[in-house]
Amino acid sequence: MPNWIFYVLAFLVYSVLILLFGYHGFDKTKHLQDFYLANRSLRTIPSVCTFLATWFSAASMLGFTGNVYTFGLSTILYSVLAWFAGLSIILLFTKRLKKYDIVTIPEFFRYRYNSRILQALTALVLLGCYLYYIAMQIWGVGIVISNFLDIPYTMAILFAYVFILYTTFGGMYSVVRTDSLHVALIIIGTVGLAWLVLDHVGGLRELFTQIPDIAGVPLAGFRETSPGAMLDPYSNGEFSLLFYISTFFGWGLGLSANPQYSVRILATRDERTAIRMIFFSALLLLLIYFACLITGLGARVIMPSAPLTSPDEALPYFAKNFMNTIFGCVVLISLTSAAVSTANSQLLIVASSSVHDIYRNLINPGASEEKLLLYNRLAIVLGASFPLILAMYPPMQLLIFGSYIWGVVAVTFLMPLIGGLFLNKPSYTQAVISILGGLLTIIIWLTWFATGPITTNLHPAMPGVIASAILYLGVGFYQKAREHRA
């Protein structure tokens, strides 16, 4: 029997499970609080599931494993380390954030900076970022489904679209329920893959015996890996310390300012649950990343070189061509789970930003909850359809694009969020100038250095965040000094 039949069967089972799990939210959603935050009722296990499932995206699984395959252990330094640093920052402001009776993070800005415009402005930034990121998730999962099921890419992304739409339609309750399923599939998938790879290689000891000797061009158009580079922190000169630091600004700080995590803090039932959610999620993420690391390194041992142009393609290619059908099924389902679970959380933010932060905030403050719920669902349909169209024209390499988006989130949200939480009287002016300054810096950086004559591998978020911080603090001091003189 051909392999694709097993993939189709695995896919069918996944679809049925999603159908069963995703239905739940419709029953329970009665108000906006239910739709956005599951009525702030999440206990530890569901909150850990949704936090983890949102965190671990297709970009994480494909990108991290593919980059480990291509560059070795150095991948940890510019990705996982930066992400965990961001997670530590989230932990710092969890207690303070939990005290606010808000539904979205842009609403927090309105509350702290007393500005409806700021709420709408930040919501617009979120819309741009998340719509693009959802497109990336659809694209990622589309490639995987298309490859495994041997069906056209357009049909594959339609599946991603329907899954994302279905799991988001019931609001946060639906997302949390399907995220619980996704987390189980992700953990089983990543750990299972690592196990199968280790079994193939001959164990962990054998893997680390062979890894230092890996040499040659991993992917088409990539630099040749010199012996020992797979375990070198800088991948034998591929990366620099400055690159790592700059990546922290994009991925680490971008993650800490990312509303998709802040919203999950708001959705927990109390402060203690929120702290536990972050702590247990970090533990499970360590396990998952370790499993992905083993898979990436093992794949390089089994398949030293691949006729591919992007690290993101390495894992599906490896699964399909070098491993058995079960391995392929696990990769297919885990990747789909990772992509859908991240995208549905982001789609919920797209809905809340457009309906709560823009429509209700600026256009119709007196709209009934029933009407707003309907608009939210329409926003979900539109919010998933636009990325679907975008995914027809796939963007560049997944992970790098993701880092740009989180860089934009970092320059927009980090300073106003931290200032709003920790300063006594943050001003609207300093927040707006900081956001606009940060955005301008990142745009200029990308225009000049990414496409201009001067090139650098510094992450554009670094100058953006620095500019935004200087502007935020500078304007704040200036205003205080003026007040003092007056």
Binding site: F11, L12, F26, M155, L165, F169, S368, E370, L374
Partner: protein
């Protein structure tokens, strides 16, 4: 498990989509399968025709071998009834193949498809032999065709149908969920409101902004609930008003079942009059050992006998040491259609009213007597003074002997007695404005006891003062009080047998009045005389004037007091005097 309306809509819809998908897939598969089988057969037929053509022109052994190699290992060759080649797959069917060639031999060159094998399993596997017979050479060339139940090309095609079905199913669920959720929102709200209304007292909010039938239904329901709530509010108010009326009315009300056998309700006034709680009234209804309840039940039964004509009644019964006088009415309660549904007893305590009426009667009697007495006294006193003067003159003029002295003395005594009688009559007739001041009851009793000491001794009676030394002062005329005490005690002395005790004791004390009792152990007053004892000149004593108690009543009345009598024949009499006490200013 309760199926929500959303699921009830979704499940059939989903089943329809899924069954349609499965049907389309099955039909497509069946069609594809047929096409696939025909296609393969045709392909083989074509090959066989070409092979036959080739053999017709080239019959050398080498060419035949070349052809057989071209056709592959599975080819069957039968020449002149002898099997030249038979692939292992067809070995079990060798006899059948020879039979086929015999069957075809009479019909010229022909192609025949014969089913050699069909599996019994659900997914049927079939083995065909496609054979071409050439009569000139008596040669049969055949190729087996094994059709698997799930040929891969078909499955590959089916994959799309399956995936499209899956997509359609998910979209169907999604759309159904959304539509059914949207349709059922007002219904769910209605259910929510109904559930809130069941325990009562819940508030509800049913904002529906839809114009379709469900929206209209929800709005109508909302209006209906508002109307019901307004009516309920009105009914509640009315009920509260009725309850308040029922509770606060000074008439005792008891409602019983239509047959009068059980009590429905009794108001607090009824409880107060009967000195029973509502529960006790219900429990003891009709008991023989409760005189009033027993009487009331009898009235209910009497009402039934009288076909509903109201029954008026009045009862004077003994309630402990006091009399209780109740006046009531028993009548039927009718519903809006005029049908009797219950019996109602309305009654009130008229003890005080009756006592007041009696007092008023006495006062009237005394007033009319006073008028007569005053005119009589005036007419009698003057001639009497003349008679007395004449008797004294006569006494001086008559010889002073014993007999004469006795007569004169007797005459004078009788004239004095008539004078005394007239003085009493005048004191009864003339209203005297009392000079009310604080008076100690004990002191007054003590002062009169000296006057009656001798009489008590003569009759060997004992006067026992049981009054506390710390009683509040009475606010009465000092002389009036003495007169009241003297008259009452003298009456008691007259009634008491020798050796008995007359007691003066406290009856009750309130913030405004003090009641004391003068009781004797005498022969008592017959019940028929009880109402007459305060009437002037009523006396059972042949030597008595019958004015003592009338004077007492008059004096008590003038001092804003009350007098009551409890007497039992053969056991004694209690005179209860209630007088105001002096309040501190």
């Amino acid at each position: 498990m309760r199926l929500s309306i959303e699921r009830k809509i979704m499940i059939p819809f989903l089943l329809v989509v899924l069954s349609l998908t499965v049907t389309i897939a099955a039909v497509a598969y069946w069609g594809g399968y047929q096409f696939y089988v025909n296609y393969r057969m045709n392909e083989i037929r074509k090959v066989l025709f070409k092979s036959d053509q080739f053999l017709l022109n080239n019959n050398s052994a080498e060419e035949v071998t070349t052809l057989l190699e071209f056709l592959g290992e599975d080819v069957v060759l039968l020449e002149k009834g002898r099997l030249v080649r038979l692939p292992p797959l067809l070995e079990p069917y060798s006899k059948l193949i020879i039979d086929i060639s015999r069957g075809m031999s009479g019909r010229g060159q022909t192609v025949n498809d014969t089913l050699l094998y069909r599996s019994d399993s659900l997914f049927t596997e079939t083995l065909w032999l496609v054979a071409l017979y050439s009569p000139d050479e008596d040669r049969l060339i055949g190729l087996p065709v094994l059709i698997e139940p799930f040929p891969e090309p078909l499955l590959f095609f089916q994959k799309y149908i399956l995936l499209v079905g899956l997509l359609a199913g998910m979209l169907a669920v999604e759309i159904t969920l959304f539509l059914s959720h949207h349709i059922t929102i007002p219904i769910k709200k209605l259910v929510g409101v109904c559930q809130e209304l069941i325990p009562g007292g819940g508030t509800y909010n049913l904002p529906v902004t839809r114009n379709d039938e469900i929206g209209i239904l929800a709005n109508s329901f909302s209006k209906m609930i508002l109307r019901i709530e307004e009516n309920l509010h009105e009914i509640k108010n009315m009920q509260q008003f009725n309850d308040a009326l029922f509770s606060s009315i000074s008439t005792g009300i008891i409602t019983t079942s239509y047959d009068g056998q059980s009590i429905i309700k009794a108001n607090p006034t009824a409880s107060k009059i009967l000195k029973l709680s509502e529960a006790e009234i219900i429990e003891r209804w009709g008991e023989d050992n409760h005189e009033l309840l027993s009487l009331m039940k009898r009235h209910c039964l009497e009402l039934r006998r009288k076909s509903g004509a109201p029954v008026l009644w009045e009862h004077n019964i003994k309630d402990g040491e006091e009399n209780l006088c109740l006046s009531g009415r028993t009548e039927l309660v009718y519903d809006s259609e005029g049908k009797s549904i219950a019996i109602m007893l309305l009654f009130e305590d008229i003890t005080d009213k009756r006592r007041f009426e009696r007092n008023m009667e006495r006062v009237k009697q005394l007033a009319s007597f006073g008028e007569i007495a005053a005119s009589l006294a005036h007419e009698i006193r003057n001639p009497l003074a003349g008679i007395k003067t004449c008797s004294q003159v006569l006494a001086d003029q008559l010889p002073s002997d014993i007999r004469t002295n006795q007569l004169v003395t007797a005459m004078s005594a009788e004239i004095d007695r008539i004078n005394g009688l007239i003085a009493n009559m005048l004191s009864l007739a003339r209203p005297q404005v009392p000079n009310r001041t604080g008076v100690c009851l004990n002191d007054s009793l003590h002062s009169i006891s000296r006057l009656i000491l001798r009489v008590l001794k003569e009759k060997q009676l004992y006067l026992e003062n049981r009054l506390s030394a710390e009683l509040p002062q009475l606010y009465v005329d000092r002389d009036h009080l003495k007169q009241i005490l003297l008259n009452l005690i003298l009456n008691a002395i007259k009634a008491s047998p020798s050796g008995s005790t007359i007691k003066v004791s406290l009856h009750s004390l309130s913030s405004s009045h003090l009641s004391f009792v003068i009781s004797d152990e005498g022969k008592g007053i017959p019940p028929e005389n009880l109402n007459k004892i305060f009437q002037p000149f009523f006396s059972t004593d042949p030597d008595g004037s019958g004015l003592g108690l009338s004077i007492v009543h008059r004096l008590i009345d003038e001092n804003c007091g009350e007098i009551d009598v409890i007497s039992e024949t053969g056991k004694g009499t209690q005179m209860i005097v209630k007088l105001p006490i002096k309040t501190e200013v």
